[in-house]
């Protein structure tokens, strides 16, 4: 009976995998028993496989006196791999093989040996989040390395990690991190429910999960935070947020998310508060400039030129003299050119970057001005706006779209349109939330305690409590009761 079962299990697995040339089956006979080892060569650590599994089993095959209690013997004495388990479920065994396990099948069960060993990128500073001061480690594509980077920073028993597997074909591992007693239970429950409900064939990157977590059709103004830096991730989890890490992605997600997070930078916490305050104000001004400056320029030129000082107006008029196209069309042309150059430069090989800059800046810019198609002030305005856009890299997409929208409104309706459209925008921003947290907090609604980390950055010792909306019960950061965990 047992022999039939054994045959069935190894044969069933063999029949399932016979189409896949990558899966290797190695057979051994120990006394009267046959054992099969299944693995995918490209997924395993070959050295560990050879020294920890193959060599001991070969030795056992030569020296074994009987086949009694073979399974237990292999598990406890022969295989020198940690965390070896036993499986009987055929589906689980197959999943394990596909995940980088070596499966030793004998009798009616299999011994799972986790020997995953794919080449992985080393921990380096993420190119999009470089800092002058502060930690330089960045997440990598390997989830266990990322988990280690987090565990290294939060050595608390309260740190909970819940694993889920999503994707019919990819079975991607997703780890949900939160601090018990600090993160809000409703947020944890909500995140877990959303992730459990995902029914998709593949999860390639964390953006897939981000898209499901957004839960709004418009997907404008992201409501899920993301970071490539473990120190930021840990700081957010410590504030009471829920963190999500996806296997195969160096970008970790955090919820709830507020707009102000994009105005903060990792370096704000590793520099003097005055400097952090200064840079934050610059970022806010930069964001407003990026969105509004082309629209205000067009509005002033088209309708409200009386606002401008007379000397400036004369200079402006002399520089746009002879221009045959209306200001709105002119600025839209410059914006369009800028967008085209940006798109091309992102996708162009590095070696061609210099050539593109010359063509973009000199040939297109100068020649267009000389030909009287566009005016120098328009180029200056779009250049200021375009530089300002990159002051908040996480909001680039939204800012670029809003800039065009506002420019059109400013060109058609003038400053009146810009003001009204801005109110509509802020009403929208005030009306949205991320997992129950108002998107514009701590400004609207105003929360005095949380403002210590808003426009004016307070020193770390002044931030005694966690942000009001994120933390559950344990809101005290400093001066609270010491916890054993």
């Amino acid at each position: 009976m047992a022999g039939q079962k054994k045959e069935k299990l190894s044969e069933l697995i063999s029949s399932k995998i016979n189409q896949d040339s990558q899966i290797v089956e190695t057979k051994y006979k120990i006394k009267n028993k046959e054992i099969s080892i299944f693995y995918i060569e490209s997924l395993i650590d070959k050295a560990l496989f050879s020294s920890g599994i193959l060599a001991p089993i070969e030795k056992l095959a030569k020296t074994a006196e009987s086949s009694r209690g073979l399974k237990q013997k292999i598990m406890q004495e022969v295989v020198s791999i940690s965390s070896v388990t036993e499986s009987t479920d055929q589906k689980k065994i197959l999943d394990n093989i596909l995940s980088g396990f070596a499966e030793i099948v004998l009798d009616d069960a299999a011994i799972d040996c986790p020997i995953f060993g794919v080449e992985k990128r080393s921990v380096v500073e993420p190119p999009n989040s470089k800092v002058i001061k502060g930690p330089r480690e960045g997440f990598v594509e390997d989830i266990s390395t990322n988990t280690g980077l987090i565990r290294k920073r939060i050595k608390s028993l309260n740190l909970r990690v819940v694993d889920e597997y999503v994707g019919e074909q990819t079975k991607t591992k997703i780890s949900i991190f939160y601090l018990e007693g600090i993160a809000r239970p409703d947020v944890i429950k909500n995140v877990r429910q959303i992730i459990k409900k995902i029914n998709i064939d593949a999860i390639i990157d964390s953006y897939y999960i981000e898209s499901f977590l957004e839960q709004n059709k418009l997907k404008f103004f992201r409501r899920v935070g993301n970071t490539e830096k473990p120190d930021i991730f840990c700081a957010k989890v410590l504030e009471g947020r829920v963190g999500i890490i996806v296997d195969g992605s160096p970008v970790a997600l955090t919820v709830p998310f507020i707009l102000f997070e994009d105005l903060q930078s990792a370096e704000d916490y590793y520099t003097i508060p005055t400097m952090a305050t200064f840079t934050r104000i610059m970022r806010i001004v930069g964001l407003i400039f990026a969105i509004l400056i082309p629209s205000v320029y067009v509005a002033l030129q088209s309708y409200n030129y009386r606002i401008l000082p007379i000397n400036f107006l004369i200079t402006l008029l002399s520089s746009i003299e002879g221009l045959s196209i209306p200001p709105l069309v002119e600025i839209l042309i410059v914006l369009f050119l800028f967008e085209v150059i940006t798109e091309a430069s992102v996708r162009m090989p590095n070696s061609l970057g210099m050539a593109l800059s010359i063509i973009g800046a000199l040939a297109l810019g100068n020649t267009a001005v000389d030909a009287g198609i566009i005016s120098p002030p328009s180029i200056v305005i779009v250049a200021i706006s375009s530089v300002a856009i990159y002051i908040i890299p996480d909001q680039i997409s939204e800012t670029r779209i809003l800039r065009v929208l506002f420019t059109v409104i400013g060109g058609i309706i003038g400053l009146y349109g810009v003001v009204v459209a801005f109110i509509i925008l802020t009403t929208f921003l005030c009306s949205i939330d991320s997992f129950g947290v108002p998107y514009m907090s701590p400004i609207a609604p105003s929360i005095r305690k949380d403002k210590k980390d808003a426009f004016i950055k307070q020193p770390i010792e002044a931030m005694k409590t966690r942000p009001t909306f994120f933390a559950d019960k344990n809101k005290i950061r400093q001066g609270g009761k010491k916890d054993d965990g």
Partner: protein
């Protein structure tokens, strides 16, 4: 709505309604005595606000607008709500008309308002539809820059104002002022907004509410005196205080009209206040007629606002006067009746609460004695 939001909304609402067309209209009849009428209105409103806060206190304990039995409202209350909705609609129209006047006639040269008004209508609709919480957050978001703009405009105005226009005090014509007391009451009656905001706000304090009101009233008075001090006998010829107050200070300085940016920012307060009025009007209508969805009421209200604006109020010099007169009489009736009704109902409710508390205490004592 938080208490802080309540104070912010209250202050911006009070200021933005009164520093636009009203002082220009008043100056036509009262010249330099305009500020006296303002003062008189503020004093009356101050007393009414005290009453409104008392009503709010009772309202929190027991909502007398809803009858106890069927949880439905009586016809009288329904009718009252319809009138209050119309009152808020009128106030919303005042804001809308002021915004229109500023944008289409003062800051712009005859903007084709019939078309461009649609954007403002869309904005007001979106605001009113987004609810009191979002409107309050918007007020909170802009509060700082709006207040800075108001202060800057007051400073610009103050540089060229002759404050001695209010002197000598003996020259104040109390009789003429009192005669026109009812003419402009649609712009006043701030206790209504205290009442409606107060229902939605948590933990509002009497001290801070009154302080907010006094500071806002003081600012309005200052602006009116400055305005009279700048334009004196020509004050009645201007069409809006807020757009004209800084004009003189900008002449001869080669910095352009940067005050326009401040004026534009203060108009944000007017737009938000207009949205707030429509929101309250919509709420009153949907309370009075719960069978119809509030969204439909809002569509009806904004459509009416748009049509009134482009068909009737487009001629700001003649028909607007008629509107002001009618709205003034209507507002007076609504305010007086509402205040009397709410005060009587509050006193009655308060008496009931007290007597039920006494009965409860008596019963407790009886039980204690029996035990």
């Amino acid at each position: 709505m938080t208490a802080k939001q309540f104070y912010i909304v209250l202050s911006i609402f009070i200021i933005s309604l009164k520093v636009q067309r009203l002082p220009c209209l008043m100056c036509l009849l009262l010249d330099n005595n305009t500020y006296v009428l303002f003062l008189l209105y503020f004093l009356v409103d101050f007393l009414c606000i005290l009453l409104a806060l008392f009503i709010l206190k009772i309202l929190r304990k027991r909502n007398f607008l809803l009858s106890q039995k069927n949880n439905t409202m009586s016809l009288v209350v329904r009718a009252g709500l319809l009138f209050v909705a119309l009152y808020f609609m009128f106030q919303g129209t005042l804001f809308y008309e002021a915004i229109q006047d500023l944008f289409s006639h003062i800051l712009f040269n005859n903007l084709p308002w019939t078309l461009f008004s649609l954007l403002l209508i869309a904005c007001v609709f979106y605001l009113a539809q987004s609810g009191i919480k979002n409107i309050a957050r918007n007020f909170e978001l802009y509060f700082f820059i709006i207040m800075i703009s108001y202060i800057m405009l007051a400073v610009f105005g103050g540089l060229h104002a002759d404050f001695s226009v209010i002197l000598p005090f003996q020259s104040i014509e109390f009789n003429t002022t009192a005669k026109h007391f009812l003419d402009y009451n649609i712009w006043f009656g701030d206790f209504f907004i205290v009442l409606f905001l107060g229902i939605n706000a948590k933990d509002i304090k009497l001290k801070w509410t009154l302080t907010t009101y006094i500071v806002s009233a003081f600012y309005v008075l200052l602006m009116v005196i400055e305005y009279n001090g700048i334009y004196q006998y020509y004050a009645c010829m201007q069409s809006s205080l807020i757009s004209m107050i800084s004009e003189q200070s900008m002449l001869g300085i080669d910095i352009g009209r940067i005050d326009w940016f401040f004026i534009l920012i203060t108009e944000i307060g007017s737009i938000l206040s207009c949205g707030l009025c429509l929101h309250f009007a919509k709420n009153c209508l949907s309370l009075a007629v719960p069978k119809i969805k509030s969204k439909y009421f809002l569509i009806l209200l904004v459509t009416a606002l748009y049509l009134v604006d482009v068909l009737y109020l487009v001629d700001i010099n003649s028909k607007v006067e008629l509107f002001y007169n009618f709205a003034g009489i209507f507002a007076f009736v609504v305010k007086v009746i509402s205040l009397i009704f709410l005060t009587v109902a509050s006193i009655y409710s308060n008496h009931k609460i007290k007597s039920s508390n006494n009965n409860q205490q008596g019963n407790n004592m009886e039980v204690a004695l029996n035990e």
